[in-house]
Symmetry: C2
Subunit: 320 residues, 2 copies
Amino acid sequence: VVEQTLADVGEFGLVDRLLELVGPGRPGEVGPGDDAAVVGLVGPVVATTDVLVEGLHFRLDWAEPLEVGAKAAAQSCADVAAMGGRTDALLVGFGGPPSTPVELALGLMRGLVDEAARAGARVVGGDVVRSESLLLSVTALGTLLGPHPVQRSGACPGDRVVVAGSLGASAAGLAVLMTSDPGLRKQHAGVVARHRRPVPDYDLAVALARAGASAMIDTSDGFAADAGHVARASGVGLVVDCAALPVAAGVAAAGHALGVDPLTWVLGGGEDHAFLATMPAGADLPDGVQVVGEVVEGSGVVDTAGRPLAGGHDHFGGGS
Amino acid sequence: VVEQTLADVGEFGLVDRLLELVGPGRPGEVGPGDDAAVVGLVGPVVATTDVLVEGLHFRLDWAEPLEVGAKAAAQSCADVAAMGGRTDALLVGFGGPPSTPVELALGLMRGLVDEAARAGARVVGGDVVRSESLLLSVTALGTLLGPHPVQRSGACPGDRVVVAGSLGASAAGLAVLMTSDPGLRKQHAGVVARHRRPVPDYDLAVALARAGASAMIDTSDGFAADAGHVARASGVGLVVDCAALPVAAGVAAAGHALGVDPLTWVLGGGEDHAFLATMPAGADLPDGVQVVGEVVEGSGVVDTAGRPLAGGHDHFGGGS
């Protein structure tokens, strides 16, 4: 059996296959296949967009297409959840060379549909184009479930800093994958799986918003960098007790095996898509949330000994 | 003065410059700079996404960055208008290599902001990533102004086929650009300008929806191909009087100069972003709309002599 490529089926052929996979719109809505989708959202719309490029944001020798698609959806749905919202609809842009196997494109879309369903959403529209590198653009549209949008800028001195979810697994998994050692990959399959497909706890983020979170962000750039974003946007300082940070299962073991301090991954590793929130003194914390520090007057993010937290990265390898 | 690149300013440096250009969100909304934007849309949301890649969808040796950005926005806003909607918000994904001049990225965004304003919208969010080729993803979110979404599938036998806007300028301009002849480019500057930056009449599309359009599409793939989309989705045939098609200014002259039948561009050329609609017998036609044919029982798109209309293209150069 010769594998079909995009050149074989053409743009419209691929679109037909993708539409079949995604399914029609809900009654009263307009699903994929027209000029635009029409989605029945109630109230203010939460909207975010992400672009992912092969070789930079994902590698298909390290993950199945389904995992890559699911991770792309998770990234956008986590952004909606970090505002206190639930994702209702995804729009997906797909680009690839004519030599791309049709099954690969369908696998990516299966992952997007799968993670969308986990978040309470479905794919309602998209675009298919030719491009040199494989690429995905994912736009998530959602509804606010909290009393108001939870921004990065609302943290106040006296608030507790909390984390929903665990940290370090994605970076640990990436480090294991980079060794190219099949034994290590097998031994540390848990963190590798989390690198390939993060599983954000969307409901817990919404619970934090409903409990009165003053600020929230998902840890996509890494805990230290994302804590820095909150501190900067809010005009406050954050003091973090590193010993209290929720370290993901398998991170310590991977650190031991690779000779890396797990805290490097916990503080500096991106793509965990946990949620960092600040909670006013009176707020009840939902179950499963970890208190990791407090908001203070000042600026920057430090540990309990006053040392700046290291971590984060810049996609252009540049300055400032 | 050494030109700054993305590598010089870094991802966060570029984001800061783009945020400055785009401006803050409206009161009560969340604009760019947080995990997600929050937009106060009323009623069902019209949503569409497009991906554009340098070398395939645009060439920066043929157009200014501002024109490329404006064209990208126009493409998505025209899709919203073709449903009978007005675009309220754009989300923009930008990808480029570290060597990309900052001014180029800012120029693209200026064009996006400019065309968004022409459509009644603003840029509310986005993403900046590294990629080998320059790329843009544009998502448009809008509000329905017509009584219901105007889909491709509503055309009925007996309806008139109408066009809002004119046809052929984009393809004629492209043909002139491809000659690389500075004299021709100057002589046919009008169609070249339309190729670089189409100016869809968003209001006229909304007027068609309000007047009761049974189906509508914007001519992005070319009139013949887009008429085919409507015929297929509606399960009808379209008979088009080619002599009645509104040929854009300058198309006939460019055809004469290049020895090309202008009808080739009028029927086959994409990216004019005119609007093709079908109007029930009783509907009043808004001013500026041209009747070009009628909907009949059957299938396919033919001229008044019964010959199939040629045109359209496939982005993967593929079959089916």
